[in-house]
Amino acid sequence: MANSPAFELAAAELERLTDLDRLESRGTLRLALKEVLFESRSVDVAQMTKIVERILPRALAARGVGDHDSICERLAIALKSSDLSSSAAQSPDAVFDRLIRR
């Protein structure tokens, strides 16, 4: 099953910014997603950003990655500045958020 663009971006950035290899960076992100009941195939950019800011620092620290706060900050910036808004706008949460907004 294909991963969401937000997950792919975060995984690629995490691999680039740390010594973690492809499998490790994706596995770390998947565990962080699982902790807050998200899936790599459906997580959107806003959800991914929040997970990077709130869950990932702890996960990276547990894996002995140094300077994890700074890495997560840069990851969050990369996600926020990405052009993934169209996929984010179609997640169930984003759709219902629009539907109930006055």
Binding site: V43, V45, A46, Q90, R98, I100
Partner: protein, 243 residues
């Protein structure tokens, strides 16, 4: 008369919510808004208006089957929209969901517009009516199931600060509204299949339909037109986190 109360509640809320969603679609031009608006207006006010006009003004005339067919066709479009909404919002990447939504929509649209070609007398309940009713129940039941399933996860995310509680509650309300509609439609179907179309529904059936109509109307109202006091129950909205 008893059943009319529930249908009336659903009619009013369907009109309010449907028009609001249609106005929202005019601004966003997003498919989910359009599908939800078509579903609310088609099954509720538009379909009911056309069916009601036929029964009230053209009963026992040659125009009656035409109004009957038009009302059911409009409602069929509404049920198709619910199936497409379930696919587009909850299962956008699943092929089986695309196939299911396509089959439901295609059969209901062919059946709905086919009724103009071969007009079925209002008092007749043919095989195609069974197929059509079953697919309508499947469409609305599927929509309810997907929304309630998503609400279970969303509610747990909201508890740990990873989803907006109000948005999470709207999944529950959409699910309850559709589940109530499913049960109401199932009662109508079972009653029509049992006593035949055109016959007067028994008071218990009318009471059931009325209750389901009221519950659906209340759920859609809270879900899509949440009053200020209801919003306050969920506290301040979570910062942008995709919900």
């Amino acid at each position: 008369m008893l059943a009319l109360f529930g249908i009336g509640c659903f009619f009013v809320v369907g009109l309010l919510v449907g028009v609001r969603l249609l106005a929202l679609w005019c601004r966003t031009r997003q498919l989910p808004e359009l599908l939800a608006a078509v579903a609310m207006l088609g099954i509720g006010p538009l379909g009911t208006c056309v069916l009601g006009t036929g029964y009230l003004l053209f009963h026992d005339t040659s125009l009656m089957p035409l109004f009957h067919a038009a009302g059911l066709a409009i409602q069929g479009v509404g049920f198709s929209a619910i199936a497409c909404f379930a696919w587009r919002v909850f299962r956008p990447n699943d092929r089986w969901a695309v196939a299911l939504a396509a089959i439901i929509s295609l059969v209901l649209l062919v059946d709905g517009f086919g009724m103009f070609v071969v007009l079925t007398p209002a008092g007749e309940f043919a095989l195609r009516n069974h197929v059509s009713m079953s697919l309508k129940i499947l469409a609305i039941g599927w929509g309810a199931f997907e929304s309630l399933l998503y609400w279970r996860v969303s509610n747990r995310r909201a508890a740990i600060g990873f989803a907006d509680p109000l948005v999470s509650a709207s999944f529950l309300m959409w699910g309850i509204g559709l589940a109530s509609g499913t049960l109401g439609l199932a009662v109508v179907y079972a009653t029509i299949a049992w006593i035949g179309p055109g016959a007067v529904l028994s008071p218990p059936s009318q009471l059931f339909i009325s209750c389901f109509g009221v519950v659906a109307a209340a759920a859609f109202y809270l879900g899509f037109l949440p009053p200020r006091a209801y919003r306050r129950r969920f506290g301040a909205r979570a910062p942008a986190a995709g919900g």
